[in-house]
């Protein structure tokens, strides 16, 4: 897709054709980010599709996806570049045997050939027809130090390697940062990004997602699943299920050839939705205490759209 000829509608449509259902506001943010060359900071509960959108956008733009998974202790040598020391050593040893010229060796072992490119450098150096999508996943897991030098990369799109010089981006990659809010991101970094909070989907949206991802599913079953999810998310669980769980559950029920939901099949497959023993236990007590109206959900899911 040509980045010059985009519109909000086109992006929304293209994402939809790749089975990513998003609302207009998210499409607007993506559109702006492409036009302004500004990174997008996505926040939201686990399993609402923060990472997914970067992947899908890469497909839509027919370009590469470069992913950097953050973790505590992530440093420049894993995120930017590192010299290939063993290779350099080998070269030196070889030159020793061949009595090579010292000065040439010195300059040659500090060239790109001996550079191990890590995701950020790769993203900046890429020179395809369309810029790549750079996904910096779970930025909140990295430490403050990493954030600080990310700041340089994301504001100027350049990386300085002392031995070589400054490498400027030929074209700005489309950058997506995701965060689960395990800690607060520094304001300076936030200010350089377009911010978007992804909510849990509404009943209609979730239904659409299920129908898109699993076209073979019975419509009534899909409605039951979504109604159940909507209800459960209002309740007090240790880990509230996201869209990823909805889709897992739907595919489990399809595999089991269920056309509609009943209490037995629900119990058998609850492991797809809740991943903690306490939550399963809690669900049972909620069902027993009639706080979760299963019969109603099974019979008339459209009543539970909230």
């Amino acid at each position: 897709m040509n980045p010059k000829k985009l519109s909000i509608e086109k992006i929304q449509e293209a994402l939809r054709s790749r089975q990513y259902i998003c609302d207009r506001s998210l499409a607007t943010v993506v559109y702006l980010s492409i036009n302004l060359g500004k990174p997008v900071l996505l926040e939201g509960e686990a399993g609402v599709g923060k990472t997914e959108i970067a992947k899908v956008l890469a497909e839509v733009m027919q370009t590469g996806l470069i992913r950097l998974q953050c973790y505590e202790g992530l440093d420049a040598s894993t995120a930017l570049y590192e010299w290939n020391y063993p290779k350099q050593m080998l070269r030196i040893k070889l030159e020793e045997i061949g009595k090579g010229d010292r000065r040439t060796v010195e300059t040659e072992i500090f060239t790109e050939e001996y550079l191990v490119k890590r995701p950020l450098l790769e993203a900046i150096q890429s020179n395809g027809t369309t810029p790549p999508v750079l996904l910096i996943d779970e930025i909140d897991r990295a430490d403050m130090e990493f954030e600080a030098f990310l700041l340089e990369v994301l504001s100027d799109f350049q990386i300085t390697i002392p031995e070589i010089g400054t490498i400027h981006a030929k074209q700005r990659p489309y950058v997506f940062l995701t965060s689960n809010r395990t800690r607060e991101i520094h304001d300076a970094l936030k200010r350089r990004c377009l911010y978007h909070w992804i909510e849990y989907p509404t009943f209609e949206k979730e239904y659409e997602i299920v129908m898109t991802k699993h076209p073979q599913i019975q419509t009534h079953l899909a409605k039951q699943i979504c109604a159940f999810m909507q209800q459960v998310r209002q309740m007090n669980f240790y880990k509230r299920p996201g869209v990823a769980e909805t889709l897992d559950w739907a595919s489990a029920l399809i595999t089991l050839h269920r056309d509609e939901l009943d209490e037995k099949s629900m119990e058998d497959t609850m492991g797809c939705v809740f991943k903690y023993r306490e939550d399963l236990h809690h669900l049972k007590s909620e069902v027993a205490g009639k706080k979760l109206n299963l019969e109603g959900i099974f019979k008339d899911p459209m009543e539970f759209q909230t």
């Binding site: 207009r24 506001s25 607007t28 702006l32 900071l41 403050m144 304001d187 007090n236």
Partner: protein, 406 residues
């Protein structure tokens, strides 16, 4: 659960800036950003510039798109979205909001009669509310446990150096004690290694690199050792009526910890929970009490620990609390909410976090025993139950922290 100015405040701020609202969209955008800033949102100039650049790319006659553009550019925190929405509606519709408050956020827990009563409370001056809340609080204690009442009067039972009557000297001492605590917490060892002069193991990569200059023969060794891990602290402070006399100390404690340590999150609760991390991030401690109390629902009101913990566990804990998080709860434990709920939420919290420390200003009193139901329910889940009533107790807290991270 966000901290929000009233509708009147929004309207008057919008009106105040109406003079700088010019004809063009740009002038209006600038005025809008100034309104946001005035209401306490952090909006940078670069963000405003980007917002105006963004407007070129969308059809601004579509209200939804226009809204998305401004929101994504100017706001970078979920908590701020609600306020942004209200200001946006007020500013760009150019109509005044209803003079009557549209809706007050419900303070009560569904199904709890006690808190239903309290939600009638807010109204009248702050002093009235405080007085009312405090008297209610005391009435209730009387009802619940007649034998306990004599010891429960903070001003009587605690000695004269109590935080409730703190002077400047003490206030400095607190600052020093907090520094001590902070340094203890900030020195936990991580599993990650870093290069060090006298480390315990060899770092092959850096050794190679360092020895390139000797032609690849290993002459210098580079070693590494475990580095210091940063533990996160989440502070949950009770600001209900019964804690009033400690509020100055609380504020200072919250400020001190948050400014000394990385990654401290601060919440206050009474009948409901409010995140105030962003409110006390500034260095200006002077107006802190005022600023925070004006933006916190139910300051000096009743106490509902269970409900507040419930909110915390649901809204914040999933992202804030990890197995390395130390939860520090400061409360006198006088709870009017549902004890079962409180116990359940304490259990949930305990499962998630590393340690729970409960600081209770009443604990210093000789006669005090944690008899009230709320405190009893919480006790099994606490790792430490300490008093904070004077500087010495803070130093003791520092020692505990040291043990904790050793």
């Amino acid at each position: 659960m966000t901290t929000q100015p009233s509708d009147q405040e929004i309207i008057s701020t919008v009106k105040r800036f109406s003079s700088v609202r010019g004809q063009g969209i740009l002038a209006n955008l600038l005025a809008f950003s100034r309104v946001l800033k005035d209401l306490g949102l952090r909006v940078g100039l670069s963000q405003v510039i980007d917002a105006s650049r963004s407007l070129e790319f969308v059809d601004i006659t579509r209200r939804g798109d226009f809204y998305s553009v401004l929101l994504s550019n100017l706001i970078c925190e979920k908590e701020e979205v609600a306020l942004f929405d209200r200001v946006f509606d007020c500013f760009w519709k150019d109509i005044t909001l209803d003079e009557e408050p549209m809706e007050t956020i419900e303070l009560s827990v569904p199904g709890s009669e006690e808190s239903q009563e309290e939600s009638d409370g807010p109204g009248g001056s702050l002093e009235e509310v405080v007085a009312q809340a405090t008297s209610q609080e005391e009435d209730r204690t009387q009802d619940r446990d007649p034998f306990f009442l004599p010891t429960y009067s903070p001003r009587e039972s605690l000695n004269s150096k109590d935080f409730s009557e703190m002077g400047i000297e003490e206030s400095r001492a607190i600052g020093r004690a907090i520094l001590l605590i902070a340094s203890k917490i900030a020195t936990q060892m991580s599993r990650r290694k870093k290069r060090a002069l006298k480390g315990d193991e060899i770092d092959p990569r850096w050794t190679m690199r360092k020895n390139i200059k000797y032609g690849g023969d290993i002459i210098e060794l580079v070693t590494r050792k475990r580095r210091i891990k940063k533990t996160r602290i989440v502070l949950l402070c009770d600001v209900s009526g019964s804690m009033d006399c400690y509020s100055r100390f609380l504020i200072q404690f919250m400020y001190g910890l948050q400014n000394e340590l990385w990654g401290v999150e601060t919440f206050v609760f009474s009948t409901s929970l409010t995140r105030i991390t962003h409110l006390i991030r500034t260095k200006d401690i002077g107006n802190a009490l005022e600023r925070i109390s004006s933006s916190v629902q139910g300051w000096s009101g009743g106490t509902n620990i269970g409900h507040s913990l419930h909110t915390f566990n649901r809204e914040f804990a999933p992202s804030l609390v990890t197995h390395r998080t130390v939860i520090v709860l400061i409360s006198d434990g006088w709870d009017r909410g549902d004890v079962a709920l409180m116990e359940q939420e304490m259990r949930n919290l305990k499962r998630r976090c590393y340690k729970i420390i409960w600081l209770n200003p009443l604990l210093a009193s000789e006669n005090y025993q944690p008899l009230c139901k709320g405190m009893q329910a919480a006790l099994p889940y606490l790792d430490f139950f300490l008093s904070v009533h004077n500087v010495h107790s803070l130093v003791a807290l520092g020692r505990t922290m040291q043990k904790l991270v050793a």
